[in-house]
Every structure is written in C-alpha cells, then in structure tokens.
C-alpha cells in the first residue's frame, strides 16, 4: 500500500505545472530514450510532440509507466535505461510528453 501511495504521489506531482525538469532527466533522455523517441523509430511517440503523446496519455500514466517497465511493442523492458528507477521513468514520460525540449 505504501509503495502504491508513493507511486500515486509521484505521478500526481509530476503532472503539476510547476514541475521543474531535472537536468539529470534530460541526460537520461539523451542517453537512453532519444535513440528511438528522438526520431520516432518503430512508431515510438516522438518526444515533445504533445499530439503524439496525447493518445498515450489518455490511457493513464500508470499504464505508460507499466509499459515502460515491462516493455511495449518494440520497446525493451525499461526502455533503453537499464538502471532507471521508477521515479526516473515517470520523469522521462513527463519530459517527453511535454510540448518541447526544455
């Protein structure tokens, strides 16, 4: 239960408009996510294309997080970030689904 509460808190916090991007998240994106999400390889939603992400976000962030953890379509488990934490993945989803790179 405690872990669920933490996850809900994380997801809620991340959606606040005041959410500030951690430079480390940008580094993780460049290191691990850009390889596919930068160009939309294999139908991966292109980062910072809010329209492309809107459909995915409509499934709920918990679903997107679960997909990132387990792998989805062509995306391997944990994306390409083998050492990411759950918090990292949430941050990355928020970062990539934002309007433009910050």
């Amino acid at each position: 239960m405690r872990r669920k509460l933490i996850l809900v808190a994380l997801l809620s916090f991340a959606s606040l408009s005041s959410w500030a991007i951690d430079p480390f998240t940008v580094e993780l994106y460049q290191t691990s996510c850009n390889i596919c999400h930068g160009a939309g390889v294999g139908d991966a939603p292109i980062a910072f294309d809010a329209e492309a992400w809107a459909e995915r976000l409509s499934k709920g962030k918990e679903t997107l997080l679960a997909n990132a953890i387990s792998g989805f379509k062509g995306m391997p488990p944990l994306g390409m970030c083998s050492d990411c934490t759950k918090e990292d993945l949430v941050d990355l989803i928020d970062y990539m689904s934002a309007d433009k790179a910050q």
């Binding site: 872990r3 669920k4 996850l7 480390f24 580094e27 993780l28 290191t31 850009n34 390889i35 596919c36 930068g38 160009a39 390889v41 294999g42 139908d43 991966a44 679960a66 997909n67 953890i69 387990s70 792998g71 989805f72 379509k73 062509g74 995306m75 391997p76 488990p77 944990l78 390409m80 083998s82 050492d83 934490t85 759950k86």
Partner: protein, 473 residues
C-alpha cells in the same frame, strides 16, 4: 552518433543486426515496429523488475542505489553489508547483474573528467556510455584505438567483460586501460595502474563486477581519424580463401556467415584521410543488401521450408557497399533488433576451422536459425581474465531473436567451441563453471586471491557468480 541516419541508412540497417534485417520478420525489435504486447516482466507488490536489454535476465532488487559521487558511494558501502550488483546499460546476456538485494547505478559517474594531451590518456566516469565517450573524444580531436560495433554499453561494463571490436592488431577495451579507481566492499578507495596496486589492476581490467565498484577509468587514446568501411558478399569458399589475407592486411576485418547459405559477408575497415572521407561521404556507394534480406526474411517467414534455397540464392544479389566517416560513426551501430547471444573466442590460428565447423553443423543438423554468425579477430593482451589473455583470438558469435528459444542452438555451438578450447565472453550466454575457467585461464588462482582479499564477505557475488567463484573452493 547520428542515430537517425543510422536507422535509415541501408548499410547500417544491414549491420544493425549483422545482416539482421532478417529480424524484421521476428517482431524482435529493440525500438522498431512490433506486435502490440507487453513482453517483459511486471512489477510485483510494487517492486519494479530489472531486466537486461534482451529480456533473458530478470530480477527484483529490493533497493536501487545511485550515489551522486565517490563519497556517497563509499558511505553506502561502509554503512551497509548486503549484496550489491552494479548495473550499466544492461547489455550482458549472462547473469552478471541480477540481484534481489541492492542494484547500483553509476549513472552519476558519467563523462570525461581529464584529458592528458601529452600522453593522450583520457579519464572517464564508469557510467559513461561508449557512444557518448566517442562524441566527447571526437570533440577533443581524439579517438579510441578500437571500438565495439555496439556502443551503447557503459564503460565500466565493457571493461568488466573485456568487450572488444575487431582487428588482429588490437586488444579488447580492457587492454587499453592504463588506470582506474576501485572502491572495495569495505569502502576503501584504491587507485590502480601498472605502477600502483599492480595485482588489483591486472585483475580489475576485466573484473566481471566481482572486485568492487569502479568509479573512473583511464584509457589510452589516439588522435582522431577517419575510416572507410567496405562490405562484400562472396561465395563461401572464395570468402574463406580471402579471410586470412584480410586478417593480416586490413586494419579491421570481420565476417558474417549466413546459416544454410553458400555465401558470406566480408567487412573490412581502413583508415583514410579526412579529405578522402569528406569527398566520399556523400556518395551512396551502396548495394541492395537491405532490400534483399528484408525480402528474404519475409519469404522464409511465410514459407519456412524454402529456407535453404532462399538463403543460398538471395545473397548472390547483394552488391559491394562502402561508407566513409569519422571513427566513432563507422564503428558504432544501433542494434534495434533484440537478440540473445553466445560468443566464444578460440585461438586465432584455429578460428577459420572452428567457424567452418559452426556453419557446417548448422547445415548438417538442420538447426532452425537464420541469424548470421559473426566472426572477428582480436589481439592478445595481458589482462588476467580477458578472453585474449596471452592468446590472440578469433571470436565467434551466435545469436537468436530475443523471443525465440536459444539454448538448444547455443548448446550445439558451445560443444564445438569447447573442442577448440574456447573462452566465453563474460557478458554473453555460456554454461561454464569454475573448474572449466580454472583450466582456461592461467591466472585464475591469482584473480581469486585478489577477489577474496577485496571482498571477503562476498558482497559482489550473485547467483551467477556463485557458479564461477564458489564459496567452498
């Protein structure tokens, strides 16, 4: 690295899986189109799983640590006493990483921290990815002496497993390490080099993550350079005749043997001037390998009984391909199709015989595989647990798609490699245990002595490493 151009370049698409556009048939992609399914492990009771890139290794670490600096790392080690396994890019297919205790990320230890412009030695953080290192080196007019064709690994992971490229005059990445910093199980920080803690240095340059946590690595580099890559599909006997000559004459050389086929792809690399590279870079000197193998894959998928015929006929249509560019762009490839891999290194002089036996066995036993077999040469080194210790090697890699069974095929291949005294790649699938390693590595006991001294309570030993460094021996 220009990932976008890599993805859409036919040449790169071919090499991305080692002539592996075949993989398009298998839904085995890393980030390419595939059936909609959640293929990997799920969280259990809120605990997030860890999985490697291919998905054949999974664990549920109770804790995940990511120290911000070396002080935080030493504090973590001093104030805890449980098992710890470090994780890099997750590109090992063997069970080096899985732990249900603490999984340690070195993602805060990234980037180049020092460049000695006189000696061309460069110090980089353990978590630095090889691709990023290549970009930083290029910006500083430097180059790695050699580089693997997958470049997404973390530097410490690549060193820990003696990861290598190809070229008989070049050793593995481990052989270019001139210094490193290691934090032991007790939190002691050790600087290691040929003149400082020499025994630990010789062990740590290929350490399988079993000695402690490496925080930075210093490597010998050289001036930046440009490369020309040329690939050509040849009838198999003609290819075998040329391979020894190419091994000796070309800076780098590798081959891809096609299962059930009578052709082989030979790839050679040569250093060229900037002027030649610039002049040729824009030219599309490309054959039709990509299209050929995509078609081939589709046909085999629909009509598997035609496999042998298709694999023999289709390669004949592949033309010569060439490309030019800066060293880190030519070496590095995106593997956007997921697979599992076994690799053994046999003595260089036995390489061709072993390679031929591998290809013949696949045919004779009608093994259901279409993934090309990779063949490379690597120079000998003096790193205790390197596959190339005092022995120049021919490294032979066999693969299958990540969602296909691989062990029956790999078992057949491993039996062949054993006959040639093959040494397995530490980060790839193998079934070797301690007794066999002791016979393969002259410095095995010396390594074990260092390991037990630095980690007496076996904090860095997980289930997989228990089979390699057993507690009772």
């Amino acid at each position: 690295m220009d990932i976008k151009s890599l993805k859409f370049s036919r040449r790169h698409a071919l090499k991305a899986t080692g002539v592996g556009i075949i993989a398009g048939m298998a839904g085995s992609s890393g980030c390419s189109s595939a059936p909609e399914k959640a293929a990997g492990p799920q969280s259990i009771d809120g605990i997030m799983p860890w999985s490697n890139w291919s998905g054949n290794q999974v664990s549920y670490p109770a804790e995940r640590a990511r120290p911000r600096n070396i002080d935080a790392l030493t504090k973590l080690l001093k104030e805890s006493d449980g098992k710890i396994r470090a994780v890099g890019a997750g590109h090992s297919f063997s069970g080096l990483v899985p732990t249900n205790e603490t999984l340690l990320s070195m993602a805060r230890f990234r980037g180049i921290s020092n460049i000695n412009t006189e000696t061309k030695e460069v110090t980089a953080g353990a978590g630095t990815r090889l691709a990023a290192l290549g970009d930083e080196l290029w910006e500083n007019k430097l180059g790695m002496i050699n580089m693997p064709d997958i470049n997404t690994q973390a530097l410490a992971g690549a060193i820990a497993t003696s990861t290598h490229g190809t070229g008989q005059q070049f050793g593995s990445l481990s052989s270019y390490v001139t210094g490193l910093t290691l934090v032991t199980a007790s939190g002691e920080v050790m600087k290691c080099s040929a003149t400082e803690n020499k025994d630990v240095f010789d062990a740590a340059r290929c350490n399988i993550g079993s000695l402690g946590i490496i925080t930075d690595i210093t490597m010998q580099m050289r001036d930046s350079y440009y490369l020309k890559e040329r690939s050509e599909m040849l009838p198999i006997e003609e290819a075998f005749e040329k391979m020894e000559k190419l091994r000796l004459e070309k800076r780098h050389f590798e081959a891809y043997g096609l299962p059930h086929a009578n052709h082989m792809l030979l790839i050679e690399f040569e250093e060229v001037s900037k002027e030649e590279s610039d002049a040729k870079q824009g030219e599309a000197v490309s054959g039709d390998a990509y299209e050929t193998f995509r078609t081939l894959a589709d046909v085999i998928d629909m009509m598997p009984f035609l496999r042998g015929a298709v694999m023999s006929i289709a390669p004949r249509t592949v033309g010569v391909e060439e490309r030019y560019g800066q060293w880190n762009h030519i070496f590095g490839n995106v593997r956007d199709m997921r697979f599992n891999e076994m690799e053994y290194t046999v003595p260089a002089e036995d390489g061709l015989a072993c390679f031929r036996e591998v290809l013949n066995t696949i045919k004779e036993k009608d093994i259901d595989i279409i993934f090309p077999i990779e063949y490379r040469y690597v120079g000998e080194d003096d790193v205790w647990l390197s596959q190339f210790y005092q022995r120049a090697g021919a490294s032979i890699s066999v693969h299958n798609f990540h969602d296909k069974p691989y062990m029956p095929y790999f078992a057949e291949m491993e039996a062949i490699f054993d006959r040639y005294q093959g040494r397995p790649h530490w980060g790839k699938v193998h079934t070797k245990t301690e007794q066999e390693f002791a016979a393969l590595y002259p410095q095995w006991e010396a390594f074990k002595e260092v390991r037990e001294r630095l980690d007496p309570n076996r904090r860095f030993i997980n289930e997989h490493l228990e089979t390699i460094f057993s507690a009772t021996s």
